[in-house]
């Protein structure tokens, strides 16, 4: 199940959030060698603030299996702050969120990774449809870029890839439309009931 974690329930889910930050350090710093801030055994940066929202795949026994961070595009976020060269006109607005820190826990084994990925994809779409988000922006290296395209949703390039920080990075826009769920279904990436129902999503919508 994918849990929505934001300012309202972050404290209640402290162990899970900590687990996520630890896995992010293991992946982004230890494995991928990203030059991002580290605090002890946790990776977190200036965007991991009170307004950041997370979708976290949680396993009852093993904790954090994978996650993404969602940032408002009306406040400083990666694309307009760190990677403005990847896109000429950064798409912003109340109905656009930026997806970043897509992370799969090192404890994911074998094909489990794919199931976690599909749960995150489905949760991103469900969350967007429930709250009126029309698009996500995303900066990705080239192999992740192809992986995102293969999920079945409708993507558009926002700019050409650029060599930055030792990889080729590019920005894209993922459009969320009523038919997106059906597109995921056809791509085989839809996971029924991925997003754990939280009443306040419905209130917000």
């Amino acid at each position: 199940m994918v849990l929505l974690v934001d300012a309202d329930n972050r404290t209640a889910n402290r162990p899970l959030v900590t687990d996520m930050h630890r896995d992010r350090k293991r992946i982004f710093i230890d494995r991928l060698g990203w030059d991002v801030p580290v605090h002890g055994d946790e990776e977190r940066d200036e965007f991991d603030d009170a307004d950041a929202t997370y979708l976290i795949v949680e396993d009852d026994w093993r904790g954090h299996l994978g996650s993404v961070r969602l940032l408002s595009t009306e406040r400083p976020h990666l694309l307009d702050t760190i990677f403005p060269s990847l896109c000429e006109d950064v798409p912003t607005g109340p109905d656009i969120r930026e997806v970043s820190r897509l992370c799969f826990a090192p404890k994911c084994r074998g094909g489990e990774y794919r199931h976690v990925r599909d749960q995150l994809t489905t949760a991103l779409v469900e969350y967007a449809l429930l709250t009126g988000i029309r698009a996500y922006t995303l900066v990705a290296g080239m192999s992740v870029y192809s992986g995102v395209l293969s999920q079945g949703w409708r993507c558009t390039p926002l700019g050409l890839p650029r060599p930055m920080r030792g990889e080729e990075l590019a920005a894209m826009l993922i459009r969320i439309e009523p038919e997106t769920i059906e597109r995921l279904r056809q791509a085989g990436t839809y996971v029924p009931q991925a997003l754990k129902p939280v009443s306040r999503i419905l209130v917000a919508a």
Binding site: E88, S146, C155, R162, E168
Partner: protein, 258 residues
């Protein structure tokens, strides 16, 4: 590298191509659109494939689309030259795009690659840029853009080619999926997490006792998990079961052999 302001409309061209892909429902149309944008980029040919054995002429769920000269394709497939094709081999080692001239930096060029170079030259393919596409649960693939003899590799089109290759590959996957109505795994995982753990170890050559030890469960439980997994796939034995699980992407060959 100068960061902004000199894209010369390249992004818009790719965006239009991506929009066009949304309205493309046959491989013939995709081939036509690709041929057009390939020329726009300054290349003359393209080849887009999953790296699997394509000789039987029925790639099924796999992508195989090219406008390379017929002579090349015929000889290439008949002689299984993909097994020694340095572009294919290098694609498996790279996440990002590369020029043919960089092949020697990525892999050791084997002696039997010579015949590929000869064949390419005879077929009038002089140079190229390859965009590897690696998706979990699928064979590795690539979209390759080639120049014809007498043309030089277009300047400053590598990044555009990266995007065109990746979106085109996805477009091909989508068309093939619809055409074949292939039920994809993933929406409905065939095995439970525990069954998958066991089958992965089966594929790695573990006995039930060894699996039990590795996972900290009883051998009898392992036996149940493996038997249930075998039943779900309708597999004949442990080998057949492992092959099924790799084939539908429950885990990859890399998971088994690492």
């Amino acid at each position: 590298m100068e960061p902004t302001g000199r894209d010369d409309g390249l992004v818009e061209t790719v965006q239009q191509f991506v929009d066009l892909l949304e309205r493309t429902f046959t491989l013939a149309d995709l081939k036509r659109h690709l041929t057009d944008i390939v020329k726009d980029m300054g290349f003359q040919h393209f080849s887009m494939t999953h790296h699997v054995d394509l000789r039987n002429g029925n790639p099924g769920e796999n992508v195989a689309l090219t406008d390379y000269p017929e002579e090349f394709v015929e000889t290439y497939l008949t002689n299984k030259m993909y097994t020694s094709d340095p572009v294919v081999l290098a694609s498996c080692h790279k996440a990002t795009g590369f020029r043919w001239s960089e092949l020697g930096q990525i892999i050791t060029i084997r002696g039997d690659s010579r015949q590929i170079f000869d064949l390419s030259t005879r077929a009038g393919l002089s140079d190229g840029y390859a965009v590897p596409v690696h998706l979990p649960g699928e064979a590795n693939g690539a979209c390759v853009f080639a120049t014809a003899t007498g043309h030089s590799l277009p300047q400053k089109r590598d990044f555009m080619a990266q995007l065109v290759g990746r979106y085109a590959f996805e477009g091909a996957r989508r068309i093939i999926r619809k055409r074949d109505r292939v039920p994809k795994p993933g929406a409905d995982p065939k095995l439970t997490t525990r069954q998958r753990d066991c089958v992965l170890l089966v594929a790695r050559g573990y006995s039930n006792n060894e699996i039990a030890e590795e996972l900290g469960i009883r051998p009898r439980t392992v036996e149940d998990y493996v038997e249930e997994a075998r039943r779900r796939y309708g597999a004949r034995n442990r080998t057949h079961l492992s092959m099924h699980a790799v084939f539908d992407g429950t885990f990859s060959l890399n998971d088994v052999l690492r």
